[in-house]
C-alpha cells in the first residue's frame, strides 16, 4: 500500500497485469466466437440465405414464416411441456431421493451408484434404451399383456397426443441421478447442529426440511436449476434417438427445427431465425433472473 501511494495513483488498467494478459485469449474467444457468432447469426436471420450464407436482406420474412409454421408451434409447445415438467419432477424426485439417502441408510454407496448410473449414458443411448422399453411389441406393453392383461395399452411413442411424455420419462430417468447427487452434497453441507437444534425444539422432520434446510440450500438449488434449464433448451439428441420427431411431427423440438432447416432444407435463413428465437427465449428467462440474483447484491 505504501509503495503504491508513493508512486502516485496507479492506473486501474495495469493492476494485476499478469492475470489480465493471461485472460486475453479467453476474452478474445468469448468476444469473437460467442458474441461474434451470435451477432452474425442474428444478422443473417434477416437474409434469404440458402445452403450458403448470403447477404440479401428480406426483412422479417423468415420470422413470419417461422411463426406461421405448424411444426415450429408444435416444437415450442413440446419444449414448454417438457421443460416445465422436467424442471419440477427432476427437482422434486432428486431432492426426495437425496433426503431418503441422507437417513444414514445401509448400502448408500450402492444406491448412489445405481441412481447416478443413467447419467453416465449419453442421450443417444438413453433414447434407444427407452425406445425399446416403450415399444409396444417388445417392451412394457407386451410384458404386461403376456402376464394376462391382454387389452393393456401403453405405447406413448406411437401416440401423437402423449409422445412428449414418453420422452420426458427417458429424460428424467437420465437426469435425476445427477440432481440427487448435487442435493445430497448440499444436504451433507448442512451443519449437524441445526438438526440437533430443530430436534430439541420439537420441529417435525418435514417442516425442518421445508422451512430450514431448503432455504439454506439455495446455492445448490440455483446450480441445479441452471444445469437442468440448459439441458432443457438444447434437448435434441434424446428426441432424435427416441422418435426422430415422430409420429409425424408430434415430438419435434426447436433445436431439431434449427438443424433440419439449416442442413436438410438448405435454408440457413430460416434456421437462423429459429435459433435467434431460441436465444431470445433464453434471454427473456435469464436476464430478469440474473438481475435479481446479482444486481441486488451489488446494492446491498
Amino acid at each position: 500500500m505504501t509503495l503504491r501511494s508513493s508512486a502516485g495513483r496507479p492506473s486501474q488498467l495495469f493492476r494485476n497485469l499478469n492475470s489480465k494478459v493471461a485472460l486475453i485469449p479467453m476474452m478474445l474467444v468469448a468476444l469473437v466466437v460467442f458474441l461474434g457468432g451470435t451477432i452474425w447469426t442474428v444478422v443473417y436471420s434477416f437474409t434469404r440465405s440458402g445452403l450458403l450464407p448470403r447477404l440479401s436482406f428480406v426483412g422479417l420474412d423468415q420470422y413470419e414464416r417461422l411463426w406461421a409454421a405448424p411444426r415450429w408451434i408444435i416444437s415450442i409447445q413440446n419444449l414448454a411441456i417438457y421443460g416445465i415438467l422436467s424442471l419440477i419432477f427432476s427437482l422434486v424426485i432428486g431432492f426426495v431421493l437425496a433426503a431418503l439417502m441422507d437417513q444414514k441408510i445401509r448400502f448408500e454407496n450402492t444406491f448412489r451408484t445405481i441412481f447416478l448410473y443413467p447419467f453416465a449414458l449419453s442421450f443417444i443411448v438413453t433414447g434407444l434404451v427407452w425406445q425399446w422399453i416403450l415399444n409396444p411389441e417388445f417392451g412394457v406393453q407386451s410384458i404386461v399383456r403376456s402376464l394376462g392383461w391382454s387389452t393393456f395399452e401403453f405405447d406413448p411413442l406411437y401416440n401423437s397426443d402423449i409422445v412428449i411424455y414418453g420422452i420426458l420419462i427417458a429424460g428424467l430417468w437420465q437426469g435425476t441421478g445427477l440432481v440427487m447427487c448435487l442435493m445430497l452434497a448440499g444436504l451433507r453441507g448442512i451443519d449437524e447442529d441445526i438438526w440437533k437444534a430443530s430436534r430439541v425444539d420439537g420441529i417435525p422432520m418435514w417442516k425442518t426440511y421445508v422451512l430450514i434446510i431448503i432455504p439454506m440450500m439455495r446455492p445448490v438449488f440455483i446450480t441445479t436449476l441452471v444445469l437442468i434449464a440448459s439441458g432443457i433448451v438444447k434437448v435434441y439428441d434424446l428426441v432424435v434417438a427416441q422418435t426422430s420427431g415422430g409420429p409425424g411431427i408430434a415430438s419435434e423440438v426447436p433445436a431439431k427445427y434449427v438443424y433440419d432447416y439449416m442442413f436438410q432444407a438448405q435454408n440457413l435463413g430460416q434456421g437462423f431465425a429459429a435459433s435467434t428465437m431460441m436465444l431470445l427465449t433464453v434471454a427473456i428467462i435469464i436476464i430478469p433472473w440474473a438481475y435479481l440474483e446479482f444486481g441486488g447484491k451489488k446494492r446491498g
Binding site: G50, L51, P70, R71, S160, G248, D260, M262, Q266
Partner: protein, 411 residues
C-alpha cells in the same frame, strides 16, 4: 551396421508409398446401407478398383436426410471427400454455384454422355450453365406398389391389379390380421407416397401443374381434393405400421405381415435379397396399376474440387466407371433400379425391372420432385405429410389448404 539397417528401412519406407502412388485412394460417401443397396455398391467399388485405383467406402447410415447434411458440411467446411452421392436435381445446386464442385464436361464429351444417357432429362439436371457437374448412376422411380402375394392368399382375396382394388381389399386384410399398407415413419416416405398418388390417380397434367408450374390454384382445386381424399384412405390403411425405416416396412411386405407398400423401385433389392421371386412371391404395379408414368429421378455422383492432381485424375476415372455399360448392368441388377443408358443388355432383369423398362421405352417419364422443387419446399412438404399421415385429427381439407400455401410460396 545398425545405422545402415536403419537407413535401409527408411529408404524402403519412402519407396513403398512411391510405388503405390499409381493407385489413388478415393473416398466415396453415400447413404446406400440396406442389404440390397450395399450389394450394389460393392459392384461399383469393384469396377473402380479394376481401374487401378482404390475405392474407400464412406457409407453414412440413416438415409439421405441424415447423410446429406454431413456431406455438405464436409464440403463447405474444407474437408471434401473424393466423390459423393446426391439425388440429382437441386440438392447440390448451390454447392456447384459456389464453385465447390468439379466440372466434368471434358469427361462427358469424351464418353459421349449426351448421346448415350437416356432419358436426356437426367443429364440436364446435372447441367448447370452449360457445364456438366455430375455422373448419373441410376434411374429411380417412386411410383410402385409392392404387394405380398402370400398376404392376399391368407386373406382370401385376389392379388389386386391396381390401387382401387387394393383399397377395396383393405378390410379383408385387416380381418386376417394383416397390416394392409406398410408405411415407415421417416418423413420422406409419407411425402413420396403422396406424390405418387398425385401422378397415379391425378395424372401427369395435375402433377406438372402443381410441381412444375407451382400453380397454387390447382393445388387448392377439386382435382387435388380427390387426391387428399385418397391419401386419407391410405393413412387409415397404414395405421399401426409402427416402424421407422423404409426397409423395415418393406420387410413387412417381404414376410407377408403387410399387404403392400408404396415405395420406389429400390424396394426391389430387398425382395431379391430375401430370395423372393417377382410374379410368384410378390407383385409390383408401376404407376399403382393406373397411370403408367414414372418419375425419373435418381442418384448421381458429384465430385468436389480437390487440390491433389492424382485424385482429380482418379475422379475422372470414377466418373467413367459409373457410366460404363458393364458396371451399369451389375450395379442396377443388384439395386433394382434402371440403368441410365438405353444400350445395355438387361436380359438378366426380372419381371419388375422389365415392366419399368417398358414404361421407360414408351417415354412416359416425368421429372422427379427432387428435380422440380428446392430442398426447402421438399422439407415443408415432408413436415406436412408426415404429420398428416401420423395424426388423424388433421382433416384432408385442412391439409390441402396448407399444401396450397406451400406451393404458393414454393421455389
Amino acid at each position: 551396421m545398425n545405422l545402415r539397417a536403419l537407413k535401409a528401412i527408411l529408404v524402403a519406407g519412402v519407396m513403398l508409398p512411391a510405388a503405390q502412388a499409381a493407385a489413388t485412394d478415393l473416398e466415396v460417401t453415400h447413404w446406400w446401407t440396406s442389404g440390397g443397396e450395399a450389394a450394389a455398391v460393392k459392384e461399383l467399388a469393384k469396377g473402380f478398383d479394376a481401374t487401378g485405383n482404390k475405392w474407400v467406402d464412406g457409407a453414412i447410415a440413416g438415409s439421405g436426410g441424415t447423410a446429406r447434411p454431413i456431406m455438405i458440411s464436409r464440403i463447405t467446411g474444407g474437408d471434401p471427400m473424393g466423390a459423393t452421392q446426391f439425388n440429382h436435381g437441386r440438392q447440390a445446386q448451390e454447392l456447384v454455384e459456389a464453385g465447390l464442385m468439379r466440372d466434368l464436361t471434358a469427361v462427358a464429351e469424351k464418353g459421349k454422355w449426351k448421346d448415350i444417357i437416356k432419358p436426356a432429362s437426367l443429364l440436364e439436371s446435372c447441367t448447370i450453365k452449360g457445364k456438366i457437374y455430375c455422373a448419373p448412376v441410376n434411374i429411380h422411380s417412386w411410383q410402385w406398389l409392392w404387394l405380398s402375394n402370400e398376404a392376399f392368399k391368407k386373406a382370401g382375396v385376389e392379388v389386386p391389379k391396381n390401387w382401387n382394388e387394393f383399397v377395396a381389399a383393405g378390410p379383408a386384410l385387416q380381418k386376417a390380421g394383416i397390416q394392409p399398407l406398410a408405411l415407415g415413419g421417416q418423413p420422406w416416405q409419407a411425402t413420396g407416397a403422396f406424390d405418387t398418388l398425385i401422378i397415379s390417380l391425378g395424372g401427369k397434367d395435375l402433377y406438372m401443374k402443381v410441381f412444375k408450374d407451382k400453380d397454387a390454384k390447382a393445388a387448392a382445386g377439386p382435382e387435388m381434393a380427390a387426391i387428399f381424399k385418397a391419401a386419407n384412405e391410405a393413412r387409415k390403411l397404414a395405421k399401426g405400421t409402427n416402424v421407422q425405416d423404409w426397409n423395415q416396412a418393406t420387410n413387412m411386405v417381404v414376410t407377408g405381415k403387410a399387404g403392400g407398400q408404396i415405395m420406389g423401385d429400390w424396394a426391389q433389392g430387398e425382395f431379391q435379397l430375401a430370395g423372393k421371386k417377382a410374379g410368384t412371391d410378390y407383385t409390383c404395379l408401376p404407376g399403382l396399376g393406373l397411370n403408367q408414368y414414372l418419375t425419373a429421378g435418381g442418384d448421381a455422383f458429384y465430385f468436389p474440387v480437390l487440390k491433389d492432381k492424382s485424385k482429380s485424375e482418379a475422379q475422372d476415372k470414377l466418373a467413367e466407371t459409373i457410366v460404363d455399360p458393364k458396371v451399369q448392368v451389375a450395379f442396377n441388377l443388384k439395386k433394382g433400379s434402371l440403368p441410365v443408358r438405353g444400350d445395355v443388355d438387361l436380359s438378366a432383369a426380372n419381371d419388375c425391372m422389365k415392366k419399368g423398362l417398358e414404361v421407360l421405352a414408351k417415354g412416359n417419364i416425368l421429372s422427379s420432385t427432387d428435380q422440380l422443387l428446392s430442398p426447402d419446399t421438399q422439407k415443408q412438404k415432408e413436415d406436412l405429410f408426415s404429420q398428416f399421415f401420423a395424426n388423424e385429427s388433421i382433416t384432408p381439407e385442412a391439409a390441402q389448404k396448407r399444401f396450397a400455401d406451400i406451393i404458393a410460396s414454393a421455389n
